[in-house]
Symmetry: C2
Subunit: 217 residues, 2 copies
Amino acid sequence: MNTLSEENYLKAIFRLSQKSDEKITPTAIAEALGNNAASVVDMIRKMTDKELIEYDKKKGVRLTQQGLKDSILIVRKHRLWEVFLLEKLGFHWDEIHDIAEELEHVSNASLADRLDKFLGFPEYDPHGDPIPKANGKLPKTFTVSLADVKTGASCKVAAVRDTSSSFLQYLVKLGIGIGTPIQVLERIAFDQSLVIKINEQDQTTVSQRFSESILIS
Amino acid sequence: MNTLSEENYLKAIFRLSQKSDEKITPTAIAEALGNNAASVVDMIRKMTDKELIEYDKKKGVRLTQQGLKDSILIVRKHRLWEVFLLEKLGFHWDEIHDIAEELEHVSNASLADRLDKFLGFPEYDPHGDPIPKANGKLPKTFTVSLADVKTGASCKVAAVRDTSSSFLQYLVKLGIGIGTPIQVLERIAFDQSLVIKINEQDQTTVSQRFSESILIS
DNA sequence: AAATAAAATTAGGTATACCTAATTTTATTT
DNA sequence: AAATAAAATTAGGTATACCTAATTTTATTT
């Protein structure tokens, strides 16, 4: 079995591999985990020995088959627990990520599958992230952000790229959730800020960083 | 906040204090946790500095007010999660203890209370152990064991003192669960084995260790 | 291509929570 | 009370997963 730290490394590496096709460097992992690069180099050696990852200076860090399987299970548990916390226990959107961060490490062979069944086999978590199925398959992942929407066009919020509570609380304040319709009214040439209409009602201006953090369908 | 190890020490000390009035020695804690006594002495110093416990060679280890509060919350979470695992996820009696052992350490201020509400404020966990209320109060704890029942008398199983899967699987095999009526037919003078009638049907002989592990009402 | 900057790595160190072996203290037996 | 046994403690050590500072390697700029 994997230690808590190993699980966090696996998760970080998995996320980096999902985010882009760029090679995964020790520095990137260090940044993702808030660790020192020297620590990451230590851990890369341990995890390579354990055959969870492969490391080649040219190709960067890659998950082995076992590492990928383990990562997906952690992500699956994380996202299922998020659904549970929101739907069953009534936690708020911005609280569930940190709790799921602990719950995802609870290890039991049938826990994820039982939880999945209990929750009615949800496809997406409350942030719109796809929940890996028991066989490891991922439902469609959203990749187009609000920043990519043409001026004048409309879309619906499908997922959020940022799970920080400051971002989520901002969304709540604006009345934006998964499924909320948004129309792009104007694009400010200076800094790519967007003037948007939320839910066919309120009009606001949001920054580029904001619009890049929202995935749409 | 307390570390994982500290939480396990707190829980062990709390359990020992519940089990009997005997003073809690480093050796007793070492045995409860499966640690070396030298390690326990180390940890006693740390936890004393943190004001979670007090240690006096004459009086043994005692929980401070803070230590008691923390211990009760851990026990509360453990037992609530056991109810969840059995009732909501359909785990078996003998599987839930080990999983709850991990879940109990998930820390969030309102998690226990929300889980409690979701489960309908259960008073006892699936092993018959009382679930501490949000205010720290414990429902009535069962203390009379099957070994104390007079020959010829009847009783109902209220709780089990042993949560090992070997014991619980034995109970399942015998058709005994919480609430099962048991009549003591005969007491073997030689080794205090009991001949019992289960659920007014099957008759079996059980050892003294067995009958001491069952609490009745 | 040389100079410079950035990334990766090595060397050596830390806190946590354990351990064994040796010693000291306390309790029990004779 | 002395002898013995048990418990508690100290001294010194380990693996894990981090760290900083120094060095080496690789990439980028001039």
